[in-house]
């Protein structure tokens, strides 16, 4: 308790309320009165939470009757189920055995390769395609959630005319619609096709031919996160308007200037994978321990920023100064690859010391950053492409130029920035469309075709898109939903979900990714591509008169007897196949036969051609840096008051998945808020303005005023207010709360300039806030329901739950990350030896013993695992009201803690902690279950038998990790929780998304992580069939499979070939730790401590000092150290891997690698 008064004691907290334990804070929050909750919430006695309790007389009588009947006859309930056999069983489909199809995720334009798992023709799970060079088998949370989007009952189900924003009742025949559209297009003077990014050889070819049929047609790509500035400066400085490929995976040092590549960018998953790899602790070629380093300078805490080794809050208008200071520092130190020309540009760009002072950065940061960059020149990357920096065209160009200059000085062009294989992702930008809108408003655009693009949502309010749409004579929407843009159109010809449709993608030049359907169209919808072909044919175009089955026909004709009739395939399929058999085959494998190549592509999902492009070097002459005065002019009033920053929220991105309950209930990785967005303010700003979480403010910027809830986001800049995108969609579908205060952050933007120079500005506006006195409850997945500060939290930092260590400390003492245990490790002594003589592990487990390791350093906290787990294990969505009560069902969750001392409250460290069932060998849940519903099996798994469970919840109470989840309602019935009884799964296609291998749980049953036992069982079965052991990587849990940074490893401890054993051996007493193992639960999940590549900071040192005293146990450290110097050989027997072994693994030298010494 006395530690509470230590002036610089490090604090760890997860919510603001926890942090504020001082009496002043208490007083401010209402003196600890438990009733001082925000108004409009639950009463102290709770809340009548069900519609049924608005009891009318009839209901009352009904319930009384029901009560009487219940008392009389008892009750019995069993979920209904239906079995529907195939009428004609397809040859390749076997009941109960999944089929896998490789395809391409079209969730965003990154085009990751996926493998679609289908049961009896129903896709139930998407997984990353390990052969795909973009995502290497991983998949992000959005990608994982796409399978739910396929079955979205709010999708349009037929074509129709749109009247007053609704689909008209009368039917519209496809052919009628095509004929009408063809007529309109033929006679149109200025037709426009508006799409999101379109790439892929067949798609681009289709567009090209369609344009030949309608020569006047213009194709405009619209991406809310697109960036034209990049292309402009690329053309000016590198000669070609190409989007380079950023190779974070090749980097050792990354500097992020107000950018969050993990959430926003051409290929967020790929970037995330790369950035996670930068920070992995690894051994270099000489066996030395090493890791890369990430610097982040950003206005609000983002997903990328919270994973940085060093992170500093910087306002967006200061970002350019910082970039220039970095360049100047490099130039001043002579650290320039590109020669004197390049150096001269940067030499006097800015004074690093002055910039540091002005930005409030600690002294020497710029120098340290520059040195680190130079130390890994050619393997570093400076990245600034972000919505947060969207302060105006000139400004962005300057920042982009400076970033390009920095990368050129470091020799990164051609190394970590590849132009030989330019990216096709994230084509188009809001800018191009802003210019188009002028024409629309002038009534010059007479036909507009919209496919998936949703400018009505993602353009600023001031752009008045609705007005522009009214002046378009004829507009057709191919979008799958009646979204904000579609409802302004005249006709809806709904397209297909990518899992229903053929297609392709070319994320990077020469990387061809095939998209094959895994299910037939669920509704009476047609692929946009098919529609375009049909329209072109109606218009008399001959461009699409391709020979049907050009490839297949000879084979069919060569068959014995009568050739079978040609299957009735859509023309788009024939088109894709033709393009792939010709263009792609010639580029990739001209030697292969067409048939062979096509099937090879379908199997692999991807075909890679040699890069054809050229790397290009910076043209120094084209780099014209603005003077200080010009910079001042460019940034306008930004920074002179509260500055608005628009940032991309990782879960919803640009808002296109705002009807996906999985993503809506997925907590934001940084704030842990789900079901809403919010205005993010720093802790300092909140103090200054007397704001607290959930306060509703009126936020005004760019003339737009909205009532928005406030969330304190630690790590934000004090003069910045952040608004996250993707939320507040009014016409996304039915998954929205009527009284929700989530808002559309894009509306705060504004359009600057006209015509070609039109530009969308999202950040940098001066914002004013006004407290309304109202409050709003934000659903916080973590630490919800906190009312006030908790003095007990002072103890919290002493809880050895998440371990963290500075790299320097780790190199000097390989046990530095070990938690301070109550019982010291003594040599040859297991501190947790049971008094009662436990059965030795080798007697308990002889076939398999499943182990998991989670590398906290690699984990970015992106939550992809949560959605993967949800999809794999049929985990229901509970809805915002249930989350508010604290009943979310996620089997794996990412706990997020902040850590800082009082001086760093506005820039704390972030600790991420994936928490799932630890499958304890001594599981506390097992002993207390009265009906033996949770038992240990002989593979070390803690199993849960749903059918046996009566729901005493004793197991959940007794679980120290609180990873068990109880079905308080029949959650599995509902699409978005029991409070929306009209949104049942039954009767909608959503029910088809359920994994048939996993029991759907009914109300009153406990559930939890099973280590994906269905996958283990499958692998065991296959291994048994083939009379062999289970191979390494044969069992991938859903979370492990999708993890972008491969933070999770899983395997059999009794099988020496499984790499999980290597990790155990390497890290048993180094980075490895088990959570709460002093309680002798003996978990089977080993965490590897987070390592920060930086010199130990003030609070790090404090923490070290504290650890030496750990719980007043002054010999704890020494005991461990003595243990750490043991020289026994690592035993071969796996039981030492299972348990805390008596014998120390052989330590390998932890010599710092060369380049880590240099800083």
């Amino acid at each position: 308790m006395s530690d509470q008064k230590t002036p610089h004691a490090p604090l760890v907290w997860s919510t603001t309320e926890e942090l504020e334990r001082d009496p002043d804070a208490l007083a401010r929050q209402g003196g600890g009165d438990w009733n001082s909750k925000p108004k409009g919430f639950q009463t102290p006695l709770g809340e009548l939470s069900l519609p049924e309790m608005n009891l009318r007389r009839r209901d009352f009588l009904k319930l009384s009757g029901f009560a009487a009947v219940l008392a009389a006859v008892g009750c019995y309930e069993r979920p209904e189920s239906e079995l529907r056999p195939y009428v004609v069983q397809p040859e390749e489909v076997t009941g109960g055995i999944p089929n896998y199809y490789s395809s391409t995720c079209q969730g965003c334009s990154a085009a990751c390769g996926i493998v679609v798992k289908t049961y009896q023709g129903r896709p139930i799970k998407l997984e990353g395609n390990p052969f795909h060079p973009v995502n290497h088998g991983a998949l992000c949370s959005k990608g994982q959630a796409q399978v739910l989007g396929l079955y979205d009952p709010d999708r349009l189900r037929r074509p129709g005319r749109i009247k007053a924003g609704e689909l008209a009742q009368e039917e519209l025949d496809w052919d009628v619609a095509y004929a009408e559209l063809a007529d309109r297009l033929k006679s149109a003077k200025n037709p426009v096709l508006l799409t999101t990014s379109i790439h892929g050889p067949a798609r681009t070819e289709l567009l090209a031919r369609f344009k030949k049929v309608f020569p006047k047609l213009r194709h405009v790509s619209f991406e809310a996160f697109g960036d034209n500035t990049l292309l402009r400066h690329e053309e000016a400085v590198y000669g070609k308007a190409l989007r380079p490929r950023y190779r974070f995976d090749k980097c050792e040092t990354v500097v992020l200037l107000g950018a969050d590549p993990m959430s926003q960018g051409g290929s967020p998953l790929e970037y995330q994978r790369g950035l996670g790899g930068v920070r992995k602790v690894r051994r270099d070629d000489h066996g030395h321990v090493t890791m890369g380093k990430v610097f982040a300078f950003e206005p609000v805490m983002t997903l990328s920023g919270m994973n940085a080794d060093e992170r500093y809050p910087v306002r967006p208008d200061q970002m350019l100064d910082l970039a220039l200071a970095l360049a100047a520092q490099l130039a001043a130190d002579g650290h320039v690859v590109g020669g004197a020309n390049v150096a001269n540009i940067a030499r006097n760009a800015a004074d690093p010391a002055a910039v540091e002072a002005e930005l409030g950065l600690p002294k020497g940061v710029v120098k340290r950053c520059a040195d680190q960059l130079w130390a890994s020149k050619g393997k570093s990357l400076v990245y600034s492409n972000s919505l947060m920096n969207a302060m105006g065209a000139e400004w962005e160009a300057q920042l982009a130029l400076t970033t390009a200059l920095l990368n050129a000085m470091l020799g990164n062009d051609g190394e970590t920035i590849e132009r030989s294989r330019p990216a096709n992702q994230l084509q188009g930008s809001p800018d191009a469309f802003a210019g188009l809108m002028e024409e629309m408003k002038a009534g010059e655009v007479d036909v507009l075709l919209v496919a998936d693009a949703n400018p009505a949502y993602s353009l600023p309010e001031s752009a008045d898109f609705a007005d522009a749409m009214r002046r378009v004579a004829y507009s057709v929407s191919f979008s799958s939903h009646l979204d904000e843009t579609a409802r302004l159109c005249r006709v809806a010809l709904p397209g297909l979900h990518f899992l229903e449709n053929w297609g392709d993608a070319e994320p990077y030049a020469g990387i061809y990714s095939i998209q094959q359907p895994a299910i037939g169209p669920i509704w009476n919808n047609r692929a946009m591509e098919d529609s375009l072909i049909a329209v072109a044919k109606k218009a008399g175009g001959t461009e699409f008169d391709i020979e049907k089955y050009k490839i297949l026909r000879p084979a069919l004709q060569g068959a014995q007897g009568n050739p079978p009739p040609l299957p009735d395939t859509p023309p788009w399929y024939d088109f894709v196949r033709n393009v792939w058999s010709t263009t792609v085959r010639e580029a990739v494998a001209p030697d292969l036969g067409e048939e062979e190549f096509w099937h090879d592509c379908l199997r692999k999902g991807v075909a890679v051609a040699e890069p054809k492009g050229q790397e290009s070097q910076l043209n120094p002459g084209a780099v014209k840096l603005a003077s200080a005065d010009e910079r001042q002019r460019m940034k306008g009033k930004a920074g002179q008051g509260l500055t608005l920053v628009t940032y991309a929220m990782p879960n919803l991105g640009d808002g296109r998945f705002a009807n996906n309950p999985w993503l809506l209930e997925l907590p934001d990785p940084v704030s842990r808020i789900c079901w809403d967005n919010f205005a993010a303010v720093s802790y300092g700003l909140a103090k200054r303005e007397k704001l607290k979480d959930g306060d509703v403010i009126e936020l005004t910027a760019n003339g737009v005023t909205k009532r928005v809830p406030v969330r304190i986001l630690f790590g934000a800049h004090q003069d910045v207010i952040g608004v996250g995108t993707g939320w507040g969609r009014e016409h996304a579908g039915t998954v929205r709360d009527e009284d929700s205060l989530s808002f559309n952050a894009f509306e705060y933007g504004r359009v600057v300039g006209k015509g070609d120079s039109a530009h969308l500005v999202y950040s940098g506006a001066l914002a004013t806030i006004k407290k309304t006195g109202d409050t709003y409850r934000l659903a916080d997945i973590m630490g919800h329901n906190y009312l006030k500060a908790d003095p007990a939290d002072a103890e919290e930092f002493r809880r050895p739950i998440v371990q963290e260590v500075a790299l320097e400390d780790y190199l000097h003492d390989d046990t530095a990350a070990q938690p301070p245990h109550h019982i010291p490790y003594h040599k040859g002594h297991d501190p947790y030896d049971s008094l009662w003589g436990e059965t030795p592990a080798e007697d308990r487990y002889w076939r398999h013993k499943w182990h998991m390791t989670i590398d906290l350093n690699a984990c970015t906290g992106c939550n992809a695992c949560m959605v993967a787990c949800q999809a794999e294990n049929n985990i229901p969505v509970v809805g915002k009201r249930e989350v508010l009560v604290g009943r979310e069902m996620h089997w794996i969750r990412i706990d997020r803690y902040y850590k800082a001392n009082e001086d760093y409250l506005d820039n704390p460290d972030v600790l991420k902690h994936p928490m799932l069932c630890q499958h304890c060998d001594n599981a506390p849940c097992e002993t207390v279950c009265p009906v033996l519903a949770t038992v240990h099996n002989d593979e070390g798994l803690n199993t849960q038998i749903y059918n046996r469970c009566v729901g005493t919840r004793y197991c959940a109470n007794n679980c120290p990790y609180k990873v068990r989840r109880f079905n308080f309602y029949q959650y599995s019935d509902y699409r978005r929780g029991p409070h929306f009884p009209d949104q049942k799964l039954k009767g909608t296609p959503l029910i088809m998304a359920l994994n048939p291998e996993v029991t759907v749980r009914t109300k009153g049953i406990m559930e939890k992580c099973t280590f994906c036992y269905q996958r283990i069982a499958d692998a065991k079965w296959h291994a048994k069939q083939e009379k062999r052991n289970i191979r390494e990587g044969e069992v991938l849990t859903a979370c492990q499979q999708t993890c972008p940074t491969q933070a999770i490893n899983f395997g059999d401890a009794l099988n020496p070939e499984h790499s999980v054993n290597t990790v155990y051996k390497e890290h048993a007493y180094r980075l490895g730790f088990k959570v709460l193992d002093e309680t002798n639960t003996r978990p089977n999940v080993l965490y590897l401590a987070q390592v920060r590549n930086r010199a130990p900071g003030a609070w790090d040192k404090e923490r070290q000092a504290e650890k030496h005293h750990g719980y007043g146990d002054d010999h704890g450290k020494d005991g461990k150290k003595g243990h750490g110097k043991g020289d026994d050989h690592m035993p071969e027997a796996p039981d030492h891997v299972i348990d805390h072994s008596n014998v120390e693994p052989e330590p390998a030298p932890l010599t710092p690698a060369a380049h880590t010494e240099s800083h």
């Binding site: 760890v12 907290w13 997860s14 600890g32 438990w34 639950q42 006695l45 709770g46 009548l48 939470s49 069900l50 049924e52 319930l63 009384s64 009560a67 219940l70 008392a71 009750c75 630490g783 919800h784 329901n785 906190y786 003095p791 007990a792 939290d793 103890e795 919290e796 002493r798 739950i801 009560v885 604290g886 979310e888 969750r893 706990d895 928490m915 002993t927 207390v928 009265p930 009906v931 033996l932 046996r948 729901g951 919840r953 004793y954 959940a956 109470n957 007794n958 120290p960 990790y961 609180k962 109880f966 308080f968 309602y969 029949q970 009914t1002 109300k1003 009153g1004 709460l1076 719980y1111 007043g1112």
Partner: protein, 512 residues
């Protein structure tokens, strides 16, 4: 009414258990009108009342139409019970989600209610069994109603574990019985021990209660004004004739039940406390729990005894039988047990904060003292430890109004003791990420209200259909100094009667 005025029957005379009418006829003797015994203690029953008076007064409520007050109380209890039934119906239909429980707090108001009611259920058996064995004769006036309270309280308690499980309709799976599914129960689970402890306790208590009532039911049978009542009491009295053989068997069995029930008083709440002590949650994992829970149970049980007896003796006009002396003695027990639980609270705090050095436990207790639910802790301290200290004053101990109010506070305080232990510990356990705040809903209180409804419904029915006072036992203390040492003859009656035939002969003599 005439039937009540009737002369005592044979049954009545025999019930004096060897302490004769003849030794102290009404209004006669050295401690007649003064109301005091020679040793200065007050007699348990005012000597002016005869056996006939006792019989008449106790049986009167059974044979008369209840007064308005009873109807009002019974109506209120029925309403509460109906509300509870509706809530339970909703809960079973919708799921446990209507309650305030959530992910860290898996056990909420229901388990609090369960332990609360089990605790209430302690006083009755303590009074009837342990005080019997200690020859505390003052128990005779209150043991019947206290035992009834026990039975009903344990019934209410037994309801909650059934209702709190997620699939109530599968709750019978907790019973180990051979079944075609070849499934068995987990004998390592304290919840299963609970099943045995509570069912054993309720069985023994009910049998003990019923058996002790047989002579009185026989009296009621003999006095019953209507044929239906005569028939019903006839069945219930199991052919009691009042013969010496009956009495001999009765006394023997009663003593054996008393010996059997005594360890159960201690064991049932110890076992209930194992639910928590055996777990590993900071704030639950405590070795002090068994004695602490037992003391608390006796404390809350006596609190409830006062809550019930004060209005009951008034409503049933039994002030002369359940005297202020009885209540005074109960209050002394309350004072003692209050200090016991107070000691437990403080030692628990001391160990957690200053002695154990277990950080999670320490944080848990700091949370209880100063956290967002601290008001519950301090309410408990006030009601259970501070307030009962006023019973040091005799005047307060004997003041009906004050003791009634204090007993209500004790009931509240003991409810919050359980709330503190169960819910606060779950709110803040090991990982801060798990922490949450528990808010009960109206449904939680609806079921709690329903349990009170059930309890009072049963108790009010009991007041009207069964003798609320152990008539036979009470007659043994008529006109007899309280605190008198048991005489040899008392034990002889309890001992083997056939050994020397003495008891038999004595009773026969008295009968004539």
């Amino acid at each position: 009414m005439s039937i009540i005025e009737r002369e005592p029957t044979t049954t009545e005379v025999v019930t004096t258990r060897g302490e004769g009418l003849t030794s102290h006829p009404p209004g006669e003797g050295q401690h007649g009108h003064g109301g005091m015994t020679p040793d200065g203690t007050a007699p348990l029953v005012d000597p002016k009342y005869s056996m006939n008076d006792i019989t008449r007064d106790v049986l009167k409520p059974m044979f008369t139409w209840p007064p308005l007050g009873w109807h009002i109380a019974f109506g209120a209890a029925q309403t509460a019970l109906l509300i509870g039934a509706i809530v339970v119906a909703i809960q079973i239909k919708q799921g446990l989600g209507i309650l305030g429980i959530n992910n860290p707090v898996g056990w909420g108001v229901y388990i609090t209610d369960f332990v609360f009611w089990v605790g209430i259920g302690h006083a009755g058996t303590l009074i009837s069994a342990i005080l019997f064995l200690f020859r505390q004769k003052w128990r005779t006036a209150i043991n019947r109603s206290a035992e009834a309270m026990t039975i009903f309280a344990v019934q209410c308690a037994g309801l909650f574990p059934l209702l709190h499980v997620g699939r109530t309709w599968k709750a019978f799976w907790l019973i180990p019985y051979p079944n075609e599914r070849l499934l068995w129960v987990n004998f390592r689970s304290p919840l299963l021990w609970d099943v045995f402890a509570v069912t054993t306790y309720v069985t023994i208590s009910a049998l003990f209660w019923y058996m002790g009532m047989i002579p009185d039911i026989a009296t009621a049978r003999d006095k019953a004004p209507s044929k239906i009542q005569k028939f019903a009491y006839g069945i219930l009295s199991m052919g009691w004739t009042g013969s010496v053989r009956d009495w001999a068997h009765y006394e023997r069995a009663y003593a054996q039940f008393a010996w059997l029930a005594t360890p159960l008083v201690l064991s049932v709440h110890s076992v209930v406390s194992f639910d928590f002590a055996v777990s590993m949650i900071p704030g639950w994992h405590t070795t002090i729990f068994p004695p602490y829970f037992v003391a608390g149970a006796i404390f809350s049980g006596f609190g409830m005894v006062i809550t019930l007896l004060v209005p009951m003796r008034r409503l049933l006009r039994l002030e002369h039988i359940i005297t202020i002396n009885h209540l005074d003695l109960c209050n002394k027990v309350i004072l003692l047990t209050s200090m016991l639980v107070g000691y437990a609270y403080i030692s628990e705090l001391f160990v957690a904060l200053f002695y154990a050095g277990a950080p999670y436990e320490e944080a848990q207790f700091v949370y209880r003292l100063m956290g967002e639910h601290a008001w519950a802790f301090w309410l408990m301290m006030f009601c259970n430890v501070m307030l009962p200290q006023v019973f040091w004053f005799k005047k307060i101990r004997r003041h009906l109004g004050i003791m009634f109010v204090i007993s209500l506070f004790i009931n509240v305080g003991m409810w919050f003791e359980r709330f503190n232990i169960f819910i606060l510990s779950l709110e803040h356990d090991y990982l801060p990420a798990n922490w949450a705040y528990f808010r009960p809903t109206l449904f939680d209180f609806g079921t709690t209200l329903g349990s009170f409804g059930l309890f009072f419904t049963l108790f009010l029915l009991f007041c009207r259909v069964l003798p609320t006072i152990a008539i036979a036992e009470l007659k043994t203390v008529l006109h007899k100094p309280a605190g008198d040492k048991p005489r040899e003859r008392d034990f002889q009656v309890l001992a083997w009667p056939a050994k020397n035939g003495h008891a038999n002969g004595h009773a026969t003599k008295e009968a004539h």
